[in-house]
């Protein structure tokens, strides 16, 4: 059973990584061929640097992810506080249902539904083309907010409500009590919501594809239009760089996680 388990695990990892490894290997290929490896070269990485549109798209993606995740974090944190203080169960349930919609709906529905709204409003206002950076930003904020709420709300529910009362009794103003008592308690939820929103925004293709115009490309929408035609290996160089950046981030996160786990273990013992 044990050897079978190990073999099975290995085969699944092979399946998960084989296509990515093939891609990385051919990004170092001398020739443009993706079937025969003729020799090691960094030629395609050099060519990648000359592609201005990729740099531009990367910049667009980062700007969009920053703006949308920060805005979503503000709105989402306020919403979590509001939902936390709601008295009626039915109202809370209604809010949570609406919050779940963008997460449960497939991306294509979220994208198409927003596009229909934008196109309709654009037509009503007599605009030629209403889709662009603004609509893309709205779309990203919309699908990011639920993740912020779902990260902050559990932290709020974990905090002791008596703490806030104590702070108020001891003469804090409500704002000061919030900053001194509530905010530190929920800050980890806010940060993880922000990070999650940022990465989701970086990664999104489907919703962006339907809600942006031709003048504003993100990295995923650019990759889509590049891979519509037969591609040159410089695109594998781009994919490989993305792979290694993600790998680096994951390793860093794991090291940090392991450190804090060990710290907690020491505290408890």
């Amino acid at each position: 059973m044990k050897t079978f388990g190990k073999l099975f695990t290995f085969l699944v990892y092979l399946f998960l990584y084989a296509p990515l490894l093939v891609m990385i290997i051919f990004s170092f290929n001398e020739a443009a061929s993706t079937s025969v490896f003729t020799g090691f070269s960094l030629h395609w990485y050099g060519e990648l640097l000359n592609k201005r549109q990729i740099g531009e798209a990367l910049q667009n993606t980062l700007i969009l992810a920053s703006l949308s995740s920060i805005t979503a974090t503000l709105i989402g944190t306020l919403a979590a506080l509001g939902i936390y203080h709601m008295k009626k169960k039915a109202v809370v349930k209604a809010y949570m249902t609406v919050t779940n919609i963008p997460m449960m709906n497939p991306d294509i529905i979220t994208g198409v539904s927003l596009m229909l709204l934008f196109v309709f409003v654009g037509k009503t206002l007599g605009m030629q083309d209403s889709l662009g950076f603004g609509t893309l930003l709205i779309a990203h904020i919309t699908f990011n907010i639920p993740y912020v709420i779902l990260n902050v709300l559990p932290k709020l529910r974990q905090t002791d409500p008596h703490l806030l009362e104590a702070a108020l009794d001891l003469g804090c103003t409500p704002v000061k009590a919030f900053i001194k008592v509530v905010l530190p308690a929920i800050s980890s939820g806010i940060v993880s919501g922000l990070i999650m929103a940022f990465t989701l925004s970086l990664d999104d293709f489907v919703i962006s594809y339907y809600t942006t115009g031709s003048d504003f490309q993100t990295l995923p929408t650019l990759i889509y239009s590049i891979t519509k035609k037969p591609v040159k290996p410089y695109i594998y160089a781009l994919f490989s760089i993305i792979f290694f950046v993600i790998l680096l981030m994951l390793v860093l996160m794991n090291v940090m996680q392991a450190k804090s786990d060990r710290k907690n273990a020491r505290k408890n013992s």
Binding site: G5, V12, V22, I75, G82, M104, P106, S113
Partner: protein
């Protein structure tokens, strides 16, 4: 004081309430509006009644995504089970290795398979060494299903692993002490306790599979076009297809809501069964 609390409440809720109403609820109403109107904005049932033309597309989408979901489940469950048995450090590394492909963009994950499956890709080159005629791998239903499995396998592994790793070892020991053999221990204890993870895994694989368009476009041929491809084509490549696209989206949404309702009921009843 009470009044102050009310004002505070309104101020906290107002931004999100407005945002969710305008950008979550209204857009869904627009899908219905477009589905029930013609390009001039007049009420019509034609978009929906014409959907019978797409009956085959719906069948294919459902078939492919159901097959992909089932295969994914049978790969992910044992994988997650073995993973939950390893030491904490190994589990951490394994988790990272599962998440790495998941964090790669869907487009990259899908595209990378073309290198392997192409007519002059890795597999066919390998076969050629033995003088075997190249196989048609890309542009087949199998390639589309493979793409779905590959893209969404981590989404099945993670929720199942999460519930499996939370199962209390003492419950398993109790089952052994009470005379369960390992098969019964699995069937009567482990499996019922992991159903919630299985259900969320199924939803997380089925929903993006049934609504995909890039996977079928890159790995399938035109005869493997799914619902998503038709929506994409109508919106991006035609000028008057918006209303039919909305009708397709509406039906897709109903299919997904229905399947989620079924899965939820399944999860509930299994929980109820556990108490008894």
């Amino acid at each position: 004081m009470n009044r102050k609390a009310n004002i505070r409440q309104v101020l906290l809720n107002a931004p999100y309430t407005l945002w969710a109403a305008i950008f979550v609820v209204v857009p869904l109403l627009f899908v219905a509006y477009y589905a029930f109107t013609d390009s001039g904005g007049n009420f019509t049932l034609e978009n929906l009644s014409n959907l019978s033309r797409y009956a085959n597309v719906f069948k294919k989408s459902l078939l492919y995504s159901v097959i992909a979901t089932i295969i994914t489940l049978f790969i992910a469950y044992p994988f997650a089970y073995f993973m939950s048995k390893r030491s904490a450090n190994v589990q951490r590394v394994q988790m990272m290795l599962v998440m790495l492909p998941m964090w790669m963009n869907l487009l990259i994950r899908t595209y990378s398979w073309t290198l392997i499956l192409e007519r002059n890709g890795i597999i066919n080159n390998f076969l050629e060494l033995f003088g075997i005629e190249p196989l048609k791998l890309i542009g087949t239903p199998g390639a589309v299903i493979l793409g779905m499995i590959y893209n969404y396998l981590p989404y099945m592994i993670l929720p199942i692993y999460t519930v499996l790793s939370k199962i209390d070892v003492s419950i398993l020991e109790a089952a052994e002490d009470l005379g369960c053999n390992s098969f019964n221990k699995f069937r009567r204890v482990v499996l019922p306790l992991s159903i919630s993870g299985v259900v969320s895994g199924i939803v997380m694989v089925f929903v993006p599979s049934v609504s995909t368009f890039y996977i079928s476009q890159k790995l399938g041929s035109e005869s493997e076009w799914l619902i998503g491809d038709n929506i994409e084509y109508l919106i991006k490549s035609t000028t008057d297809g918006m209303n039919v696209a909305a009708a397709l989206s509406l039906v897709l949404m109903i299919i997904i809501l229905a399947s989620m309702a079924i899965m939820n009921r399944f999860a509930d009843s299994s929980d109820g069964g556990m108490i008894v």
